[in-house]
Amino acid sequence: MTETSTRTPRRSLGGQRRVSEKLILVSLFVCGAISIATTIGIIYELGKESLLFFQDPQVSFWEYITGTIWQPQAGSFGIWPLILGTMLITVIALTVAIPIGLASAIYLSEYASPRVRGFFKPALEVLVGIPTVVFGFFAVTFMTPILRDIFGADVVGFFNVLSAGIVVGILIIPLVSSLSEDALSAVPDSLRQAAYGLGASKLEVSLRVVVPAALSGIAAGIVIAMSRAVGETMVVTLASGAAPRNFVLGQDPWSYILSPFEFGQAMTGYIVITASGDLSYNTIDYNSIFAIGLTLFLMTLGLNSLSRRIVDRYRQEYE
C-alpha cells in the first residue's frame, strides 16, 4: 500500500492555494462593493428626500439657489445665508490654518532636528484626537470672550463667525501641517543639494526650491483641509449662533453681510439644530435638511475632486 503511494506521488493540479486566493479576492470585492453601495445609498437617500423638499409647493428651486433669506417659518428657503455662514467660517479658518500649518510644516521638514520632530509631530497629532465638541466649548468659553475683550463687547456678538472660524482653523492646522509636510519631505534631497551648491542659504533653499517643488502637494492638502472646514459641525453649532444671517442685497451693507463679528449659522449647524429639534418626518423643515445635506455633499465632492486633480498634476512633475 505505502509502496504504491510513494511510487505514484499524485500532485493535484487544482491546488488549494488558488481556491483560497479566489476567496480573498471575492471578499475584497464584497468589501469594496459595500462601501460603494453605502455611498450610492447616501446619495439616493439625500436625493429622494431633497426631491420631496423641492416638490413642496412652498419651495421653488430657483429661490433655493438664489435666495438670500432662510426662514422656514415664513416659507423663505434661500440657501445663501447658510452658505455665507459656512464660507465666512471657512475663509477665516484657512486664514488661520494656512500660515501656521505651512510654517510648522516647513519647520518640521526643513529645520527641526529628529528629536524636536519626534516631539512635535505626536503633539500635533494629539490635536487631531480631541473631540470637536471640546473645541466648540473652547470657542464659546475662551475664544469669544477674548475677542469681545479685544474688539469690544458691543462690536463682537456673543455668537460670531470669527470665533468659530479661528477655532475651526486651529482644528485643521494639523491637517494642513501634516499634508504639507508630506509634500515637502517628498521633494528629493538632490534638489536641496543643487540649491546649496549654488550658494543658497537655508531659507532660500526652503522657500525658493522646496516649497515651490511641493506646491501642488501643499495646494491639494489645503483643499482637503478646506473641505474639512466646510464639513466641521460642532464648533460652528456652538459658537456661530443658531440663526442664519439673512440679508437683502442692495439694502444691507457689505460691512454687515461679510462682518466677522456677527452671528451666522453654517449649513452643518443648521442641519444639527434642525435634526435634533422635535420635528416629524416629512415636514418641510425635516426635508430641507436633506436638500442642504445634498448641497454640502456636492460642495465637498467638488473640493475633493479638485484636490485629486491637483495631486494628479503633482505626480507628473516628478516623472
Binding site: L191, A194, A195, G197, L198, G199, A200, S201, R208, P212
Partner: protein
Amino acid sequence: MTHETQAPVTKQEEPATKVDETTAEGMPAPEAPGVIQTVGMDIYYGDFKAVHDVSLNFAFNEISALIGPSGCGKSTVLRSLNRMNDLIPTARTDGEVFYHGENIYGEGVDAVEVRRRIGMVFQKPNPFPKTIYQNILWGAKINGFKGSKSDADALVQDALEQAALWEEVKDKVNESGLSLSGGQQQRLCIARAIATKPDVVLMDEPCSALDPIATLRIEELMLQLKENYSIIIVTHNMQQAARVSDKTAFFNVELNTKGQRTGELVEFSPTEKLFTSPDRKETEDYITGRFG
C-alpha cells in the same frame, strides 16, 4: 562678471597665476599656489576618520581628477572643498583649505559665500522642476542678479552656450528642465553652475548616470570649460581620468589601528605620469587592475 557682495572671501576676476605649460607636463617644479590648496586636511564623520592628512594643490585652469576605490573618500574630499560637507551634521574638517590664498575654514568665512564661488555638479543630474530658463537664472538671482530681461536672456544664452547645450534647447528654454534627456540635464546642471560665475567647478562622478555618448559630450565640454574654469572631478572611471585630466590624485584606503577604513592620498601627479610611471607601487597596482 560682477559680484556685488561684501563677502569675506575675496574673488579675483583673473586667475592670479597660470601654470606654465612645461611644468604642467610633469617637471615637479616648485609648486605655485593653485586655485585651491588643501593642507593637512583630516575629515571626520562623528568619531570616524574618513580621510587622513590630504594635502593637494589644484592648479588654475586645469582639470584635476580624483580616483581610487569606492569608499576611499573622494566625494568626502570634494565636498570639503566648497564646504558642502557642512550640510552633514556629523562631518568635521580639520586642516586648511585655501581658495585664492584664503582659508575657507577660517574664522568669519561664510560657507554660503564659498559655495557661490565654487560651483558643484552632482552624480545624478538634478535640475529644478522649473523651466530651463529658470534653472539657469535661479543661482544668479540668489546671488543678487537684478538685471533687465535682456540681461537675463543674455546670461541664460551665455551659460547654455558654454555648456554646449544652447543649440539643442534654444527653441524650448521655457520647457521644464526635466523634459531633457539625462545627458542634456547634466549639461543643464553644468550651465546652471557656471551661470553664477564661479571660477572652480567641482564634479562628483558627473557621468556615472549617463550613457557612453552623453559621457563623451560631457568630457568634450570639460575640455572646453577649462579655458575659463578650474575643474576638479571625481571619477571611478580611470579611462575618463586619463582622457580628460591634467593631473590625477589617487586615493586608497588604509585599515587603521581602530579597524576603521580611512582614506589617504597616495599620489598626485600629472595624469600621464600617474598612468605610465607612477611613483608608488600601490598606484601601479590599482591602475593595472592588480588591486586587491
